[in-house]
């Protein structure tokens, strides 16, 4: 078959397919505007027509037809390919499924790194806490004096404060919400992402955060504020915030390990597979931190009887622990 005959013979077919692909690329609104109520060909016919097109391209190539024709068919095939083999992303309609089992199951699948990440966070915290308990002045060698004094001032118990923590009124509640979102989620995302470099970044951030927290808690304990203001303030949102931070560094650690020990995969492939499997965890810890920011800005800052704070806070901790240990076990594969 000569090229001109070939083109003439299949021209109509290509035009139809090209119209169909253009139709598929339009948004529903653009379709209505262009007065296209239904696609030029039936959706069910598309795969068969696409395969015919592939045959025609292969034929054109073996027959050495003109460059222009081959390029034109190649472009059609590229568009068809991306329609037929489109990756299905996360389905947002399944948010409830995500919360009830996808997320906790993903965490349990990565149990080992999560426990290591907990260790990298809790151990430095305990060490600095005990150190500052016995040598109160050691606090000043970790954190500078003015920051510590600011924190003392923040948690100083007194009748004149109707709000706890950093925020004092409704307007600054909103302000602090933004600050918490930006700060905490950035820390968590950074701790996850920097894990890619052999996991080192995640460990450093985790150890640093744990150690810092230990110093602050211990210092305020020494000042005698801890049980009156600090713990009632942090206990509720801490359940979500601290766990989320630990989860983020666990996920980062996992990413680093997949790079260090790719096993039977090529290194790039190993990282890609792990990263994909970690996406639910990333979304999960971001959602947890959003929740924590809400609680921290609007609940933790409220001045309620300390007992209420402790009861609600403990309940939240139990809930989070139960969630990661037991939620969605039935759906585990």
């Amino acid at each position: 078959m000569r090229e001109s005959v070939f083109v003439e013979y299949y021209q109509a077919e290509w035009q139809l397919l090209s119209d169909y692909l253009r139709y598929k690329q339009l948004s529903p609104r653009a379709r209505r505007k262009a007065n296209l109520s239904h696609p030029p060909i039936d959706d069910a016919d598309f795969p068969a027509r696409y395969r015919r097109l592939c045959n025609q391209l292969a034929l054109a190539e073996t027959r050495h037809f003109s460059h222009n024709l081959i390029e034109r068919l190649n472009r059609l095939v590229v568009d068809g390919h991306s329609l037929l083999y489109r990756h299905r992303g996360l389905n947002w309609r399944h948010l409830s499924q995500f919360v009830t089992y996808t997320f906790p199951n993903a965490i349990r699948r990565e149990k080992t790194v999560m426990l290591w990440a907990t260790l990298f966070f809790v151990l430095p915290a305990l060490v600095t806490f005990i150190l500052v308990q016995f040598y109160p002045t050691a606090a000043y060698s970790f954190i500078d004096e003015s920051s510590l004094r600011q924190m003392e001032h923040m948690y100083e118990p007194g009748d004149d404060h109707d709000r706890l923590g950093l925020s004092r009124d409704a307007e600054s509640d909103i302000m602090m919400f933004g600050v918490y979102i930006m700060n905490n989620i950035s820390i968590a995302l950074r701790s996850f992402a920097s894990g890619l470099i052999a996991g080192v970044g995640s460990i450093i951030i985790s150890v640093f955060n744990g150690g810092y927290l230990g110093v602050v808690f211990s210092h305020l304990q020494n000042a005698g504020y801890a049980t009156k203001t600090l713990y009632p303030f942090v206990i509720t949102h801490g359940a979500f915030e601290l766990t989320a931070i630990v989860i983020s560094s666990g996920a980062g650690l996992r990413l680093g390990l997949s790079m260090l020990f790719p096993g039977r995969y090529a290194r790039g492939e190993s990282i890609a597979r792990t990263a994909k499997s970690l996406v639910p965890i990333v979304i999960g810890f971001v959602l947890m931190l959003v929740l924590a920011a809400f609680i921290e800005a609007f609940w933790s800052a409220m001045n309620l009887p300390i007992a209420v704070k402790y009861i609600v806070g403990s309940a939240c901790w139990l809930l989070v622990l139960w969630y990661f240990c037991f939620a969605g076990r039935r759906h585990e594969s």
Binding site: L57, S66, R86, G178, V179, I185, L189, A275
Partner: protein, 232 residues
Amino acid sequence: MLKDRVDSDTHIETPEGIELVLPLADPVTRGFAFAIDFALRLGIVWLGAAIFFTALRGAGIGLVFLLLFFVWWGYYVIFELWWDGSSPGKRAMKLRVVNDDFTPINFSASLIRNLLRTADIMPGFYGLAAATMLINNKNQRLGDIAAKTLVVSTQRPPSRQISVGETALPPDIIFTQEEQRRIVDFARFYEVGSSERANEMAYHLSEALQEPDVNRLTTRLRRYAKWFLGEH
């Protein structure tokens, strides 16, 4: 690892046994795209801060932080999903992100490749990204490797602009792709170069094409080229 290709195209084979080709974006163009995006992000934050501060004061600071968060972490993901793989900077530089099997990018892939910018930036000025792109033969940075994505150029090759000043003639013998490209190159050379030199080059084909007259041979080759280019 040596790059064994001289062009910057990337090839995949589809399940139908067809080879697809897309041109890869080069690091410099990507750098420009990044600079444009960066300026735009700064602009958005600056504008947002100006509006929120004057309108809301205290609560405004919170909104500015929220905005900062979304611009810092969400800018690329939002645009890549909304504009089918292009951020404004990429669109300006005619670049597009696709999955490594040439399908449109989805949420997970976009999230991974943009979160991992944090790792690519280290130790400063996208140092790791630059190093990875040099080693990798698909110009992927770490985030691209982890997300299995490629940045490709959507620009059509500019060669089309030189048109051949002859009428098209379908050749009566078959030329391979390679030969067709040579003939088209030759015809373009004729349009911008000297015709004497073109005749000298064409002379080598006079035996193969059975055309002893060099001037007529040159014209014939140019008409073939016109046909190959599809400008009938």
